[in-house]
Symmetry: C2
């Protein structure tokens, strides 16, 4: 598993401190459903943690070519079951995966309708408060129980505008 450094040698891992806690947290989440935090899963989590944007299976496969696709898919669905990973639908046909907000921070997405790229953006607390109260209003009428929300902005990313 070449993409993955040994977990006991954190000094050699880029931004080691930032992700030390993360890996322990992920392990806890997995243990909760009797799953192990194996090297393949660590590789996937490491990628998601350092990418800064949601990744497609192709992204993951090319960044970690020694993780077979069928395993990558299984890792992602196991990690999702454990509450570590969230699957999102982009504007193209490919699903993207990112770490759950519990392990990172609340954010939204800019979706490029031309190239399919997904960019993370963080909203201000004031805005989020407004969204939260509005969501409450909208959902109450419908007897809907909201667990989360997503504000997607659709448009063209900087590089696609240049074209």
């Amino acid at each position: 598993m070449s993409v993955l450094r040994p977990r006991t040698a954190d000094a050699t891992r880029p931004s080691a401190n930032a992700h030390l806690d993360l890996h322990e947290l992920v392990e806890t989440h997995l243990r909760r459903i009797d799953q192990r935090y194996t090297s393949g899963r660590q590789a996937v989590v490491q990628l998601l943690a350092t990418s800064g944007r949601p990744l497609s299976i192709s992204d993951i496969s090319s960044a970690a070519p020694d993780v077979p696709r069928s395993s990558a898919y299984r890792h992602l669905s196991d990690l999702q079951r454990a509450g570590v990973v969230r699957r999102i639908a982009a504007s193209d046909e490919f699903a993207r995966f990112e770490l759950a907000e519990d392990l990172t921070h609340h954010h939204h997405h800019l979706l490029c309708s031309n190239c399919g790229k997904v960019i993370d953006v963080t909203p201000s607390p004031a805005f989020e408060a407004t969204v939260a109260s509005m969501v409450d209003d909208l959902t109450l009428e419908q007897g809907f129980h909201a667990t989360s929300h997503a504000l997607d902005v659709i448009g063209h990313c900087a590089s696609c505008q240049a074209t």
Copy 2:
């Protein structure tokens, strides 16, 4: 095309007045890209207009069994090209289709993460103003050019809470 009433006999169509303008508008949009507004396409538009929620291909097929799937897919993609239909990704594996907001009104979606159902909700103008300005802030930083936005609320619908 049994689902579709003749366009010249609007009095026999449920809520005829509400959709009279719509069909003419759709025809205009199609003409713009040298497409005709045929009976199959009318059937699809009629369904989307009266459903009140985004429909999957299965929804469309069962409501209009005499429209073959391959034709329904093609109608939807042609209508999308014409700016009449918008394709949205729900929380399950099935794409949903709805009339473009140009032809209806701006709204958002409640997505049931259990059964995949999608419910339309309309935000207050005050809220939309807030969203719009916030979207501007977020996108400007990234050099992103926004064309639209979507606020999706994920949770459980009324009927899935009962279970």
